[in-house]
Structure formats: C-alpha cells, structure tokens
Assembly symmetry: C3
Amino acid sequence: MSQEAQFVFNTLSFLIWGGLVMWMAAGFTMLESGSVRTKNASVICLKNVGLYSIAGMAFYLIGYNLMYVDVSGWIGSFKLFYGPSEAEIALLGGDESATEAVLENGYSVMSDWFFQMVFVATAASIVSGTLAERINLWAFFIFTLVLTGFIYPVVGAWTWGLGWLSEVGFHDFAGSTIVHSTGGWAALAGAIVLGARLGKFSKDGTARPTPPSSVPVVTLGVFILWFGWLGFNGGSVLALGSASAATSMSVVLVNTNLAAAGGVIAAIIFVRPILGRFDLVAVLNGAIGGLVAITAAPDMVNHYWAILVGAVGAIVCTAGYRLLWSFRVDDVVGAVPAHLFAGIWGTLAVCITHNDTNLGVQLLGILTVGVFVFSISYVLWKVLDMTIGARVSKGVEQLGQDAAELGIEAYPEFVLMPEPYEDEDE
Amino acid sequence: MSQEAQFVFNTLSFLIWGGLVMWMAAGFTMLESGSVRTKNASVICLKNVGLYSIAGMAFYLIGYNLMYVDVSGWIGSFKLFYGPSEAEIALLGGDESATEAVLENGYSVMSDWFFQMVFVATAASIVSGTLAERINLWAFFIFTLVLTGFIYPVVGAWTWGLGWLSEVGFHDFAGSTIVHSTGGWAALAGAIVLGARLGKFSKDGTARPTPPSSVPVVTLGVFILWFGWLGFNGGSVLALGSASAATSMSVVLVNTNLAAAGGVIAAIIFVRPILGRFDLVAVLNGAIGGLVAITAAPDMVNHYWAILVGAVGAIVCTAGYRLLWSFRVDDVVGAVPAHLFAGIWGTLAVCITHNDTNLGVQLLGILTVGVFVFSISYVLWKVLDMTIGARVSKGVEQLGQDAAELGIEAYPEFVLMPEPYEDEDE
Amino acid sequence: MSQEAQFVFNTLSFLIWGGLVMWMAAGFTMLESGSVRTKNASVICLKNVGLYSIAGMAFYLIGYNLMYVDVSGWIGSFKLFYGPSEAEIALLGGDESATEAVLENGYSVMSDWFFQMVFVATAASIVSGTLAERINLWAFFIFTLVLTGFIYPVVGAWTWGLGWLSEVGFHDFAGSTIVHSTGGWAALAGAIVLGARLGKFSKDGTARPTPPSSVPVVTLGVFILWFGWLGFNGGSVLALGSASAATSMSVVLVNTNLAAAGGVIAAIIFVRPILGRFDLVAVLNGAIGGLVAITAAPDMVNHYWAILVGAVGAIVCTAGYRLLWSFRVDDVVGAVPAHLFAGIWGTLAVCITHNDTNLGVQLLGILTVGVFVFSISYVLWKVLDMTIGARVSKGVEQLGQDAAELGIEAYPEFVLMPEPYEDEDE
C-alpha cells in the first residue's frame, strides 16, 4: 500500500472513531439525566454540554501540549495552543512539495488531536454523574477545567505521552486507568468532599433508593456508550493503514462487544439470586463495567477471555456499588464502581491475558495515578468548597437545581409525585 | 489498488457498517419501549440489552460455525468458539511473513464475524417487540438463545453459508427473508402460543388501542433503525475495496433511503383517506416496512423501483396489521407485518427488479424458511409454556412487568392515568 | 495512491459522512419535539419523518438535476430522475472495461447524490421548528416539496452548481448561507404569514414562555446535531483520497467542534450576567449558532478563529431571539436566529478568516439568496394560506395538533398540567 493510502486510512480512523467517542458525550448525558430525579434532569444537560465544551477548549489551549509535546518523563510542554504541522499548513496552502513531510507523520496531526480530545471529555463526564443533584455548577465547571487542562494531561503524559510509566512498561491499551480511573478518582474525591444528598442515607446507614426520572433514557444512554465504545477502543489501535492494524481493530471491536455482553449476562445471572429479582440498573451498569474492564487490553485473540474480563467487571461494579453505600458515599449513577473499580480490575486483568505484562508495574500505575488524581482532586474540591462552595444550598437541593439555578423544569407540563424523602434525618 | 488496501477497505466496511447495525439494537429498544404502556417500558429495556448480549454470545459459542464453517448444504460445523485465522494470529504476533496468507482472505476474519453477529441480534430484536407486555423474561431469554444459536444460523447456512437454497439460486441480498422474516416467523409463533394481552380484544373481536408510552421515543427508535439500515444494507455489499464495490454500495444506500421514503409517503397518502386522518404509527411502520422490503435487493440502478418496492412494503405492513387483528393475534409493535409480511413482499419483488431471479425459487425460499422457523419456534414456545411458563401471571400482567418483575417503574416520579381497560372480558 | 483507492476513499467519505447528516434528521426531530408543548409533540414527529422523505424524493425527481446538471448560470436541467452514470451501470453489470471511465469521475455518482440529498433535508428541517404548534400539515408538506424540489436547488445551482454566484467568488464552504440561511429565510417568511401562536404575546408585546415538553429530549437533539455536523462539514471537503484532503478534513472537524464549544461557553458566560442565571436554552442554541456560523468556512488552520466565530455566532443567536420577539415573530425553537442570523454572521466572518474573499461578494450572496428565498417563500405561504389554509383552526391549536389531527397524544398515560395560557388576548 502506498504511504499516502496509509496516511489517509490512519487519519480516517481517528476521525470516524473519534466522532463516535464524541457521541459518547450524549450517552453520558442521557444516562445521567435519566438517572437523576426529574427536578435535576435539566442541570445535568447543561453540565454535560458545558463539560464537553470546556474539555475541548482546555485541551486545545494547553492540555494536548502538556500530554504529548516534548514530554520529559513527567510532563510535556506548557506552551499554549495546538495546530497543524508546518508541512501540513504548506500542503493545505497548495505547496505539493510538502506532501512527503506530511506523510512522514503517518496521520494528520489534527485528526490525532481530535481523537485525544474526545477522550478527555470522557474522563470529565464520569465526574458529572457521581456528583449530580447537589454540586454547584461553577465549582463543577472550574473543576472540569483543571481536570481536562492539567490533571488528565499529566496522567496522559506519564503513559501515552511516553513518560515514566510508559517506560517501566505499564500497559493500558485505551484507558481503563488513564481515562476511566482518572475520572473515577476525581469523582470519588468530589463525592467525599460534597457528602451525600439530603436524605440519601437514613440514620442507621441504609441507603434510600432515589428513583430515576426515566428508565428508557438511561437505557438509551447505555446503548450510546456501548456504540461509542467501539470507537473508543477501535480507534485506540491508532492505525488502520495495514493488514495488521485492520486485523487488530477487528479483534478489538469483537472483544469490546463480547466484554459488554459478558457483563450484561453476568449481571443477569449473578444478581438475580441475591436480590430475588432482575435488576435493570445492575444489568446496565454491568455493560458499562464490562466495557471499562476490557478497555485496558481489548486485543487478545482468544475471545473468551474478553467475556471473562467483562463478566468480572460487572460483578466488581455491582459489589462496589454496595461497598460505597457502606461508607455512605453517594454516587448518583454508580460511576465510581463502573469506571474506577472496574477500571482497576481491567488494568490488573491485563496480567492474565497478556504474558508480556507485569503485575507489579500494573499496580504501580494504578496506585500512582490514584494517589496523584485523588489527592489533587481532593484538595481542589476542598478549595472550591471553602471559596465559592462546592455544594448548593439545602434550599436549592430540596427545590431542585433545575428550578433554582436554571429557572426551568425538565418536564414542566407533567404532573409529578410529591417527593417523599425530604430532609428526614440530615 | 494494492491487495492490502483492498483488505483494509473491506475490513473497515464491515466494522463501520457493523457498528451502525449494532446501533439498531438501541433503535429497537426505543421503538418498543416507547410503544408499550409505561408499566412495561423498563422490562423492554432489560429484554433488549439482554437479547443483544445473548445473541452475541450464542453466535460466538456456536452460531457462526453452524452458519458459515464447513457448510454441508444444510448445516455447518458444530465445533465451539470462533476466532481469528492462524495467519492473522501470527501476523498480530509480529510475524510479517503471514501477511500474504492474511491478505488472501480479502478481509479480516473477525470483522466479518462482527458484521454477521449484529445481524443475528436484529432477528432476535424483532421477537421482543411482538411479545411485549406479557412474556416471561426467562422464557424470552431461552428462546433468544435457541434462535440466535441455532434457528437463525441454520437458515443462514442454507443461504449466505452457501447451502442448498443458495445453490438453487435464492436471492436475498441483505436478509428480507433470512433476517427479517426469520425474526417475524419466530415472533408470530410466539404471539399465537402466548395469546393476546388481557383486554386487547373485546368479545366482539375489535381490538382496543393500547397507548404508546412515548411517541417521541418511538420516533427516535425509527430514526435509529433508518440510520442503522444504511449499514445493514450498505455493509451487505460485503466489500469496499474496488470501484465496483464502492459504486454498488452507493447505489444500495440510495435505494435503501428511497425505499424508506417511499414507504413513508405511501403511508401518508394511502392511509389518510381510509382513516380520515394522518396516522403516525402507520407512517413510522411504513418506513420500517419500506426498509424491510428493499432489503432483499437494494442494488437496482433504476431507483424508482426502490420507491415502488418501499411504498408497497408500507401498504403491506399497514394492511397486515389489520389482518393480524382479525385473527386476534396481538403484535404489540406491529413487528410481524413490518418484518415478516413486508419481508415476504420484498423477497418476491426481487423478481420484478432483477431479471436473473426466479419466482419459484423465491417462493421456495420463503416457504421453507417459514416452515422451518415457524414450526421449531412454535414447538419451543409450547415447551417453554408447559415448563417454566411462557407468559407471566394475570396479576403480573395487570400490575405491569416493571413493578412485578424488576421492582422499578420506568417513570417513577410521574403521575399516570389509571388504566381504563383492565380485565373486562378475558 | 492508485486512482481506484482515491475513488473508494472519496466515495466512502460521501457515504459515511452523508449517513451522519441523515442522522441529523433525528436531531431536528428530537430538538423540536422536546421544545414544543406535549400536545403538539407527535405532529412534530410526523412532520420530520415526512419532510425527510419528501426532500429525498423531490431531490431524486428533479432537485439534483436543477442544482448540478448543465447549470447555465442560474439553473440546471429540468429533466426528471437521476441515476448512476452509464459507465457505472456497465461496471455494475460486470463490464470491467468501464472501470477507467468510472474512475475518471473521482467518486461514485450516487454517493455524491446521497450526500447532497441529506443537505436538502437539513434545510427543510429548519422550517419545521419555527412554524411548530400551528401550521397546517398539508401546507407544510407542500411547502417542503417546493423548497426541496425548487427553491433550494436554485440557490444551490448559483453556488455549488458553479452558477453565477460561484463565478463572482462567493465563498460558502458547507452552507451557512446555502443551506442554513435558505432554511431560515423560508422559516421567517412562514412565521410572518402564519403569525404567532395563540397567547404567545400579550397585549403589551411581552412574550410568554412556552414550556418545552422535555428538556432531555431537546438536549439529545442538540447532541445529535453536533455529532451529525462533523459529517456535514467534514464531508463537505468533498474528497478524502489524498493527504491534502484527509488533512483538510481533520482541520475541518476540529474547527467545527471548537466553534460549537465556543458557542456553548460564550452562552454560559455572556448570558448569565444578563439573566442572573444560567439559561440552558441559550446554551443549547449557542452550540447550534456556533455550528452554523463556522459552516461557511471551517477550514482555517489557526483554530482560535473557529472559537471566535462560534462564540459570536452564539451571541448573535441569543440576541436575535430577543429581536424576533420585539417584532412579535414567533419562532418556536429559535431556528431563525440559529440558522439565519448566525448563518449571515458566519458568511461574513469568512472575510476575517480567509484573505481570498471579498466582503462585497459575500454580502451580495447573502442578499440575493435572501431576496430570492424570502420572496418566493412569502408568496407561496400566502398562496397556501389563501387556498388550503396555512394555519390550523383556533380550536385545533387550543386542543393541540396531536389530538386534533393525529388522534393520538405523545404521552397518553401521563397526567398533564392544565394549560394556563389559553386565549387570553388574541
């Protein structure tokens, strides 16, 4: 194949699959908007449209440079803005002699930027769900700016930017740790600082269920994520312009899908005896847990391993949800179990499915990323809480953020139930 | 074009268009969830996430082998599991000398698997809609396992697996019969065994309308299906790596879209004089009917034929819906008319648009597939009914499957109308 | 790269990105259906499924020929139907000797048709939203037929068909004026002829807010449009089969995304001080305004310009919304500000970002398109109003079009608020 055809294939792969990952922003929005109570369903929409925009902007201003440009081992360049290479600008200006220099890069510079950018947004989306129904909007947007402009890029510099964790052999194909756990740690820190929603936990510590405003909307969100994940993992092959890359991409898509299916089936089979009934939330989170878990290494050629990795991811996710409750940590959509706990499992499971990996290194990566992201996030949430306030007032929380902060309701014409669980014990 | 570029194009085609067909699972879910009453909208979500997972698993375990590997005329291989070719595994392991053997196959093995797998799931989705609001969840999942692991693969072996129906010249480009009628026959058998929903038919045989829980969600589902169908038919060219294949794919997409548009316009024009008003359900089903009908042969170069095939498909679909009612067959979303009746029409219409086809052979294909799928399905539904029970109890049906089986409601905060048509005559 | 690989790349680009633009039809449907009151949410679904179908049909019957075939400067050919080239038909029939002639065209004929067709539908979708909740369905469908079969193709012939506006150097990359303003002018003419909804404006001229039936559905619509816009602008590179084209496409996708993000952030920042709170509708329309504005020239290599163009587009959009109110023009979803006003801004902004453009020519294009589309549309709306009636009766409007015209409700099982603003002053 000609070098130019390779270039076009590689670039196209970033653009198509990156487009699908962009679409995951809609998936998170639907999942979260359907999961919260109706009184907070509109704010979720604003938060998600906003975070996707802020993430893209921050990554353009500084994030990509910190992550990929002149990475010294710990961090990349602090210069602002990013753009096409000089050769590309010359070629676009009509200078055909620049073609060779353009082709040497293997893909169009901005196609890679686009693909990496949508990944940043994914990490930020995870935080949004956990902290729903009580977080101050400005605090959330400021946190998102730091997460996507600094925290995530630093983690990325260590790994995909070929920094120190990459050098010691840490393996994380498409980001079980780098994307999903990073989002999960940031969310967990926020959940601890913010505390639980009013009335979520009764005095004896039992968690009260909060009804999702719309189950079909949640399900739509999960399907969007599943669909988008084909791009998330498939595009992470980072090439398409050879038989080897195309074959690898096929294997990755199959494993990604089988892991999600394995997660769903595990949730159907294992949760039923425990609860005595089917649990749709466990099944939907099972799909997400399976997808997160396979993300660290979706390239095994024996596909039954993908099923196993996904199935265990789903169980980890459901068990983790209960575990958080026992610590009275209130994660509205279960994003911490799905993205952090299943992400840890997936990053460790690499050692089962891939011989050339090292458990110690995987643990080192999990721990250092965890310590770094959690501690910075915790401090930042604390600072936000002490300054502008990380949490809305009790009055706003009871009334709902939609009416209080946006002046609208998500479903203004529908008659809603009076809320039964206001303010009983907190 | 180099052989390697062809390989990448063909593989990419399977992956992209296969991804779009995966997305159709969300379309069926939305269409069905919006079509049922609110009390059963969550169970639909569980059924569809579950069936997509089970279908993928069954096709990995055994289905693909039965359909495509060593097909003897009637059935393929009974060996378990499927995976990349040895040459591909070698290439992925770094052995460049395997490239030639990999390229010889024309596309990556697992990209084809992925594309075929999402087709199986489509067949299973059809069953879900027809039997909504009354089917036992376990019975449905067990039936799905057999349908996707055995029934559909056998039909596929006869045809796309190059078995006996293929040898006699049966023509079904992307599965009007093989996918859609197969799903439709299985659904019809289930509808007969299960019987109608409580109160669906009054004593004099008139059908009572059951309100859809959300018309916008139904419409979203139809748009998802329309979008996904571009992949369903486009990907069924099974190649992209030549001028001929790319041209063929363009023609297929245009015909697919025009057939759906023809179905919509036919439903707008023809239904209005009959009912005295517009009928949105007829229009939406008209789109589906048009899409199903064109699927048997979307490759004609005179595109007006596609409009005609689609328009008649829509009329067949609406007329069929009434026909089922006259037999007191209760098909909740109209999947049997849309997928089976319009599928039969499309499979016959091939003889109008394609000279090299034979009406007798097309009829033979329709009939043998019908007899095979319907009879096995009927027996299986009967066995399920006599063992675990194919239908939920009267109490569960009245309360709604969401509350009874899942312990949740689809829209728990919204105040709903009391249901007017409980238990009047059955 | 071989000529054949180029051909396949170019064709694939039209098909994939065209598929994404088709998906925008679902985006408009959701945006509009969620924006109107529940009593009109189903009719929106019918209108959008119908308009997409009619647009495709009209473009097949005559539109494409008027726009692209034998364009004399003002208009193309009046012959009916369109189809593959003779060489393509020969190749599809197995005549390999036709390959050379096929390749000479650079892409498959019908892939271009498909891509252009979905653009027509976009223009028609814009009209639907503005005139919601009061327009006669038949009047809307007839107008759509003329818009997509004649008005839009003539504007297209002047520009992309290489007619007179193209010859004087008018620059509109993907249709800020050609698609979005055309739709906007047609919508504005309709809004003036139809007048405002009952009770929208009180006697002193203040506009009463009409609650959206579902905020999450509106948000879903915006995300679908954002996703689809990657195809709208990316595909408008009109080629993929070279390093230059692939690089250009990457740049276009990045700018498209950044402009939308810029629009969102501008709406968050600038609207808050004015209203004293966040305004989700302004934010969502800000994304659309940003996208429309960048569409005229999304190919600058300094991406900060895209942010600026998008941000101003969002502000223009929000300010324009107020402006329309001051003229008592009732645009239900804000489509005129988002598509027309932001489209004008984007078409002018080309002169800031692209040196080889001319402000006078851009103004000439904006004005001539405006005069042509607005005047024909105005006359047509008037004729429709005097014949079949462009607007539904007062009784139908109060009852809601869903119940009155379709005999269904969008959410029949949900208990709704009694409507507070019937018929007070008009």
